[in-house]
């Protein structure tokens, strides 16, 4: 500690250790928090087509089109350890050939500081709702849920499902629109 460089080295290393301890403290204060909020999903229009699916093994697959509304208040999730949320809307259903199918239809990134009241109306799906086969036609129970991935400043990235879901059925014939 006789020279300036030696004192500076000692001071800097101590500051970094203290900073690491503070970051751990930040993680510990929010590690056991429940990050789920109620979500309201409504569906306005549903349509189905049977088209060529070049990514699949068969000639034609079912392609669904869903127009939906989402509203949720995400404010309680944001605390000092949350940097952003990655929201995604999942459609979950079962068909004769597959017991469980989960398809992501839409996603959004909400940064800290953005508007946390989610109120989106008449949103079309961002990604293709292809089925592995022809199982969407007249499918009685398709469940839409909104989930999110919490990206923290320090710690684990939990996947949380919002409470609240919407069930919908697809029409019997192709290219007819069913309104809800």
């Amino acid at each position: 500690m006789n020279t300036v460089l030696s004192r500076a080295n000692s001071l800097f290393a101590f500051s970094l250790s203290v900073m690491a301890a503070l970051t751990f403290g930040c993680f510990i204060t929010t590690a056991f928090k429940d990050r789920s909020v109620p979500v309201d999903i409504q569906v306005s229009k549903v349509m189905i087509k049977n088209v060529d699916d070049f990514t699949g093994p068969r000639e034609r697959s079912d392609l669904g089109f869903v127009t939906f509304d989402i509203s949720a208040n995400l404010q309680p999730i944001f605390d000092w350890n949350v940097k952003e949320l990655f929201l995604y809307l999942t459609a979950e259903y079962s068909t004769k050939s597959n017991a469980l199918n989960q398809v992501v239809l839409w996603d959004k990134i909400v940064l800290r500081g953005d508007n946390t009241k989610l109120n989106m109306k008449d949103v079309k799906s961002k990604y293709f709702f292809f089925d592995d086969g022809n199982g969407l036609r007249a499918n009685k129970n398709i469940t839409l849920t909104l989930s999110w991935n919490v990206v923290p400043n320090a710690g684990i990235l939990p996947l949380v499902m919002g409470s609240g879901h919407k069930s919908l059925t697809f029409p019997e014939t192709y290219e007819t629109i069913k309104s809800y």
């Binding site: 020279t3 004192r7 400043n153």
Partner: protein, 102 residues
């Protein structure tokens, strides 16, 4: 230009070094506690980091330059012995030291 920097005295005596270490550890720990509590209160971790950086800057200013308060207990060196008789005494001492090492 480097020789100009090297000629500035930057040393502290031992008690001064101990005081400097206590000062910077204390300042940084206090600013860490204040920063943690304030960041928790406003729910923004950025404030914790800013307060820590402020504490770091304050302790840099307090401990890096060799202030006079760190030089209050200088070492008391023995008075210099004139060289002519010193050489005669050194050689037998050195040979004695070599025997001890073996």
């Amino acid at each position: 230009m480097l020789s100009a920097f090297k000629s500035i005295p930057t040393d502290m005596d031992y008690k001064g070094q101990k005081l400097a270490e206590q000062i910077f550890q204390g300042v940084i720990l206090v600013s860490a506690v204040i920063g943690f509590i304030y960041g928790l209160f406003v729910q923004q971790f950025g404030w914790t980091v800013y307060i820590m950086l402020a504490g770091f800057t304050v302790s840099c200013f307090l401990t890096l330059p060799p202030w006079p308060m760190y030089r209050r207990n200088p070492l008391k060196w023995q008075p210099a012995v004139p060289e002519a008789s010193g050489e005669n005494r050194d050689k037998p001492q050195e040979s004695q030291k070599k025997k001890k090492h073996k």
